[in-house]
């Protein structure tokens, strides 16, 4: 594998800008990544999918990126069963870190 560092830097920068534009697109496809943003490999993480599903697992490395790997069955929230989770979701912070 050959890594062209110049190209890598340019594309990295462009991706950084691109990701800024994603931030308010309404769909957080990076939730498993954001869930591990301030965590280390092996630490517990969780994130929400849609309005009613909680995914819990641990942060694992894929290439250079930490990502939340679910290792517990998907939890389905019933309405108002967990107001804390609901309010976090309302604040658009889809990530729930322990």
């Amino acid at each position: 594998m050959k890594i062209d560092l110049t190209r890598l830097a340019v594309v990295s920068l462009s991706l950084c800008f691109t990701s800024l534009s994603f931030a308010h697109s309404g769909h957080v496809h990076k939730a498993p990544l954001i869930a591990c943003q301030s965590l280390s490999k092996g630490e517990s993480c969780r994130y929400m999918v849609g309005k009613d599903k909680v995914y819990k697992g641990t942060c694992q490395l894929f290439e250079e990126t930490l990502m939340c790997v679910r290792n517990q069955p998907i939890e389905y929230l019933t309405p108002l069963s967990d107001p804390k989770l609901a309010s976090v979701k309302d604040n658009e912070s889809i990530t729930l870190q322990k």
Partner: protein
């Protein structure tokens, strides 16, 4: 696809940092089995799952997916262990399914004319005409993957187009495209050779996944997560077919998700079906058991042990853009060609 041949994948995922055996065969381990059977202590003691670790069973593979019979050869694992490995040579096309379709051709096309898309967010999308129309809502107003006058979807429908789009610095001409590569460009399949330890060697600390992580029973490379952030950053969708696979120039057809196409052996005890093997020799099973339930005791790699199989993994859902979380054992290797 775009970007996710192993080289591109490594390449691209690098970029992202800014934004972000059922075997029953084998008869191996007979020494340990004998120990447990003849043990003169109480029969109620805890089962040592190491004692019943099963190894890869060549008979579970569909022959049509293999370029040659599975044999054994000397190999060195990632932890330096010198041991014996199964040599699995796949011919690059699934034994039991057609490859594709991937991208719809018109915004009026239905789900039968396209495949699926997942971006790791937990949602699985049918890539039909409606999905193409929904992309601006999903990813941003600068997404436009079709001709407004004709409804025609912008698809990389030649080898030149596919290869220009399936690289880290996507040719600007192919941004806002649904990216697909026909396996016909690559002689119908890319032959690859996997060396998988006959006896898995457990690691004290799991290894992070590599670009490719194993092989399915129908003869397809199982890859790590598709680099969806890099793909999406070029306003492209590297569509998967309904089996969760797609084609890239370097390694041909490969899976990023388990969608049932590799479940070729039905489990008899209610456990989830086996679908393939990881490079460390441990089996990979479907996510759900026969009751449609998930296990509660999976470790960080999405694996656990039982008395029949020993240690093994359970795949995540397709929408999670992954099979397993890490390697619990030292890995063999995967290379292009039949060497």
């Amino acid at each position: 696809m775009q970007s996710d041949n192993p080289r591109f994948s490594v390449h691209l995922c690098f970029y992202i940092i800014c934004a972000i055996g059922i075997s029953a065969c084998s008869g191996g381990d007979s020494e340990d089995n004998a120990t447990s059977l003849s043990d003169d202590t109480s029969s109620s003691e805890t089962v040592d799952n190491e004692a019943i670790q099963t190894s890869l069973d060549p008979d579970l593979f569909l022959a049509a997916g293999l370029a040659e019979s599975i044999t054994t050869t000397a190999c060195t694992l990632t932890d330096g262990t010198q041991t014996e490995c199964f040599k699995v040579v796949i011919n690059g096309a699934p034994a039991n399914a057609d490859i594709g379709p991937f991208c719809p051709r018109n915004i009026t096309d239905d789900a039968t004319q396209g495949g699926v898309w997942f971006d790791g967010s937990g949602e699985l999308y049918q890539v039909d005409g409606s999905f193409i129309l929904s992309l601006p809502d999903l990813y941003g107003s600068d997404w436009q993957l079709y001709d407004e006058a004709t409804g025609e979807v912008f698809v990389t429908d030649s080898q030149i187009a596919c290869e220009a789009a399936a690289r880290p610095d996507v040719d600007p001409e192919y941004q806002n495209h649904c990216v697909e590569c026909s396996i016909d460009y690559y002689d119908g399949g890319v032959t690859q050779t996997l060396l998988i330890p006959v006896e898995p060697v457990a690691l004290a600390n799991p290894n992070s996944l590599s670009a490719d992580l194993g092989v399915s029973l129908n003869g397809v490379v199982i890859a790590g997560p598709a680099p969806v952030n890099a793909i999406l950053s070029a306003n492209t969708i590297a569509a998967f077919d309904d089996c969760g696979g797609h084609v890239n120039p370097a390694e041909g057809y490969h899976y990023h998700a388990a969608l049932g196409c590799s479940d070729v052996i039905s489990s008899l005890d209610g456990h989830a079906n086996i679908l393939g093997y990881a490079l460390d020799g441990y089996g990979i099973y479907a996510m759900l058991n026969s009751e449609g339930e998930e296990d509660f005791d999976l470790d960080e790699c999405r694996g656990h042990s039982d008395e029949t199989r020993g240690y093994h993994y359970h795949a995540a859902s397709a929408a999670e853009n992954m099979f397993i979380g890490c390697f619990k054992g030292a890995q063999g290797s995967i290379t292009v060609g039949s060497n």
